[in-house]
């Protein structure tokens, strides 16, 4: 584990303990289509791309493997990205966005993309 990853892991662990109301919040029903609309209007795509694919400005979030609680901590408390507070992006809205990015279909397998061959 690199220093950066170690640091991130312990930061998230610490934040989860500091903000249990976010980290261990009861999951509620959410809406993928609403999440897509919110993803667009809150302009998550600016750093993460329209498909959540990420790039140099922000990491890939499509099909995120993080549970919602960790995802929410990233958005609200880590300062790794601009911190979206609950008064501008509610928990319900954030949860919809989370469901949307999780629902983004998997891309084709590498073997299926002949043009990704640069040898």
């Amino acid at each position: 584990m690199t220093q950066v990853r170690k640091c991130l892991f312990f930061t998230l662990l610490g934040l989860a303990l500091l903000f249990p109301h976010v980290a261990f919040a009861q999951e509620s029903e959410s809406d993928v289509s609403s999440g897509k609309a919110l993803y667009d209007s809150f302009q998550c795509w600016q750093c993460h791309g329209y498909e959540g694919q990420g790039g140099r400005s922000g990491p890939r979030i499509a099909q995120t493997a993080y549970p919602y609680s960790v995802f929410a901590i990233f958005v609200r408390y880590t300062n790794l990205m601009p911190a979206y507070s609950p008064d501008v992006l509610s928990d319900a809205q954030l949860r919809d966005i989370y469901e949307f990015v999780r629902s983004i279909p998997a891309p084709p397998a590498l073997e299926e993309i002949s043009k990704l061959d640069f040898e």
């Binding site: 302009q43 600016q46 791309g49 694919q53 400005s57 601009p82 501008v88 084709p108 397998a109 640069f118």
Partner: protein, 653 residues
């Protein structure tokens, strides 16, 4: 499309040139003996000499038919000063002069097209001085040779300013000639006053290396030789000469004029003792790494860095100010290795502090050391040899453990030799283990890159990874050069395409001045045209709207250039900045950051813009499946020696 010269009579060898060459030949015979090569005077004109025609002979008569001696003196100039100026420019070996025409340099303009036959240098028409200057920037990076942007000393140089600043920040040499009328009693009323200045170079003096305002032709001759020398001596950079209108347009006179020889300055090399100490530190380090930015002047620089890196199996982090190191070499690594290094060799970094530390864009800006606290830093480069005060592109001060003043490329051989001498057998034997480690890391990183490129593969707008993958399909079987920066396209060019040649990647603008992309690409394409190398410009839309006229220059002068836009319909960097401000202030986060930043309603039809300037174009393309066929058609156009343009609607980054 025809160039300027196609429809004009061949005046490449007129009577004047014939006479001057004959004079020069005689003079060369007289002065030839006893000169050293570096100081040898240049002959005035080279090449075959044809006898003048009868009409030319008549034109060259002291007193043309039907005129008195006084009339002839009043009406005609027999041997204009700007002809001599052109002789000087030719002898310096300038291939092209980029310009937007202006009356303050009409004398030398006429000399270039008539006396010089518009060859070596050939005049290239730009529609803006900023573009003329950025073309010179791109040309140097693809050829290693400086050009002359020729501008009005006032309004033209004011237009050129930002491009000069880019060149200064990117250490790119060029010799700017600025027309000016110095003698107040000699100016026509009106524009000659508005277009004259007491000190016309002043507007760019903060970000050029040197300038002069010659008061005689001999002064001009010597200052041009000095200008070339200063511009080309590392750290390289732009220089400027004001050329007086009267000096250009008046008679050269009978006074004998000399053109001094060029005496290139050998680049500075790091001091031997310091190099030995640097070698000791590198050899004794457990995890030495090399970070490199503006180092390689040419292919030799790449080869020398490979030698050094392999000798100690140290990973190389290329910051891509230049193409410094093959990106498929197993020692080519990402910046993450900086955190693990115990000795960091910085080669021609403009920003050592920002390499060792980070400062994130947060409300409270706090610096954090990225490198280990005990890591030692060796800094080799020329940045301390020339620095100016006002503009702050020199970045934050860093107290390196060992700073060595010397040109990186020129210093590498002695450093590599010192490293080899300092290596003991045990250290040498550890190289194979290190090599295996970095091979594994390199492979892992590349697989990760390919994996990341899959995401949004079929998306519309088109993903930037797909954009570069599609372009690769038409480039891979040719010799090619990525003439545009790929940083704001998530770096897919340098991450995906195998790069090993110096011209495979030409780096960035230097100062981030917007409007660099298109004209620099055209300048680079010009340099690559005769070498049969395909120039590829992945063009940002916002940048393009500052200088679209560069595409007309490409069409007008038959410069083949493949341009594919990374059109994200706005100033995306600023979009992100405004969103960041909104989030910090907890307001307007749901859409207001587009205000002032998007280029929509109406969407700009970039393909139509360049089509109107005589460039083949296609687009806007939204579906990634349409991009490949458009590229194939574009290559047909390129193969006919013309520029081609595809507008591609893309993901933001």
């Amino acid at each position: 499309m025809k160039s300027d010269k196609d429809d004009r009579p061949d005046l490449s060898m007129d009577r004047r040139k014939f006479l001057s060459s004959a004079t020069a030949a005689g003079a060369a015979t007289l002065i030839g003996a006893g000169k050293t090569s570096a100081q040898e005077e240049m002959s005035q004109v080279d090449g075959p000499v044809e006898p003048p025609s009868a009409a030319q002979l008549q034109m060259e008569d002291e007193i043309p038919e039907g005129y008195s001696a006084d009339q002839a003196q009043d009406y005609f100039v027999k041997s204009p000063g700007s002809d001599f100026m052109l002789d000087v420019i030719k002898k310096i070996g300038i291939d092209y002069v980029t310009t937007n025409p202006g009356s303050s340099f009409r004398g030398i303009h006429e000399s270039i097209v008539n006396y010089g036959g518009n060859q070596a240098p050939e005049l290239l028409t730009s529609v803006h001085e900023e573009q003329a200057t950025a073309m010179a920037h791109g040309y140097y990076k693809a050829s290693g040779k400086p050009l002359i942007p020729l501008v009005h000393g006032t309004v033209g140089l004011q237009h050129a300013c930002m491009a000069v600043y880019n060149a200064w920040s990117d250490r790119v040499p060029m010799i700017i000639l600025a027309g000016n009328h110095m003698n107040v009693t000699d100016r026509r009323a009106g524009s000659e006053w508005a277009h004259s200045a007491q000190d016309c170079i002043r507007v760019v003096r903060d970000y050029i290396k040197w300038d002069d305002q010659p008061v005689s032709l001999q002064h001009f001759s010597e200052s041009m030789a000095r200008a070339w020398k200063i511009a080309m001596t590392p750290p390289r950079g732009p220089v400027a000469i004001a050329i007086d209108g009267h000096l250009q347009e008046g008679e050269r006179g009978d006074k004998k004029l000399r053109i001094p020889g060029l005496a290139p300055t050998q680049p500075p090399i790091g001091e031997d003792g310091a190099i030995a100490e640097a070698a000791r530190m590198l050899v004794e380090a457990e995890n030495p790494i090399i970070v490199v930015d503006l180092m390689a002047h040419d292919q030799t620089g790449i080869e020398r860095l490979v030698e050094l890196a392999e000798s100690i199996q140290a990973p190389v982090v290329n910051q891509y100010g230049r193409m410094n190191f093959p990106n498929r070499h197993h020692l080519s690594q990402g910046s993450g290795v900086i955190a693990e290094a115990d000795v960091i060799l910085c080669l021609e970094l403009n920003d050592t502090w920002g390499t060792i530390n980070t400062m994130r864009d947060r409300v409270h800006r706090e610096a954090r050391r990225r490198a280990r606290s005990d890591a030692k830093v060796i800094d080799i480069g020329v940045k301390d040899l020339f620095i100016k005060s006002n503009y702050q592109n020199f970045q934050r001060y860093y107290a390196s453990d060992l700073s060595i003043a010397g040109d990186g490329q020129a210093t590498l051989p002695s450093l590599t030799e010192a490293v080899r001498s300092a290596m003991k057998r045990s250290r040498r034997s550890s190289n194979s283990e290190r090599e295996s480690r970095w091979q594994r890391e390199h492979k892992r990183s590349y697989v990760k890159t390919l994996d990341a490129a899959r995401y949004a593969w079929d998306a519309s707008p088109i993903s930037t990874a797909r954009l570069f993958s599609e372009i690769w399909q038409v480039a891979k079987d040719r010799d090619w050069s990525l003439v545009s920066d790929d940083k704001l396209k998530s770096g897919w060019g340098t991450r995906l395409w195998p790069m090993s040649k110096h011209y495979h990647y030409l780096g960035r603008s230097g100062a981030g001045g917007v409007g660099y992309g298109a004209p620099a690409a055209v300048g680079a394409a010009l340099a690559l045209r005769d070498r049969g190398i395909l120039p590829i410009n992945v063009q940002a839309d916002g940048d393009m709207m500052f200088s679209p006229g560069a595409f007309w220059t490409a069409a007008h002068h038959n410069i083949p250039l493949l341009t594919v836009t990374h059109n994200n319909l706005g100033y995306h960097q600023e979009n992100m900045h405004l969103q960041r401000m909104s989030v910090r202030r907890r307001r307007g986060t749901d859409g207001n950051s587009l205000i002032g930043n998007e280029l929509r309603n109406p969407d700009i039809d970039l393909a139509k813009i360049v089509e109107g300037m005589g460039v083949w174009s296609s687009g806007p393309i939204h579906d990634p499946k349409d991009l490949g066929p458009a590229l194939v058609k574009a290559m047909d156009v390129i193969d006919q020696g013309e520029p081609a343009f595809i507008d591609c609607i893309c993901q933001p980054r």
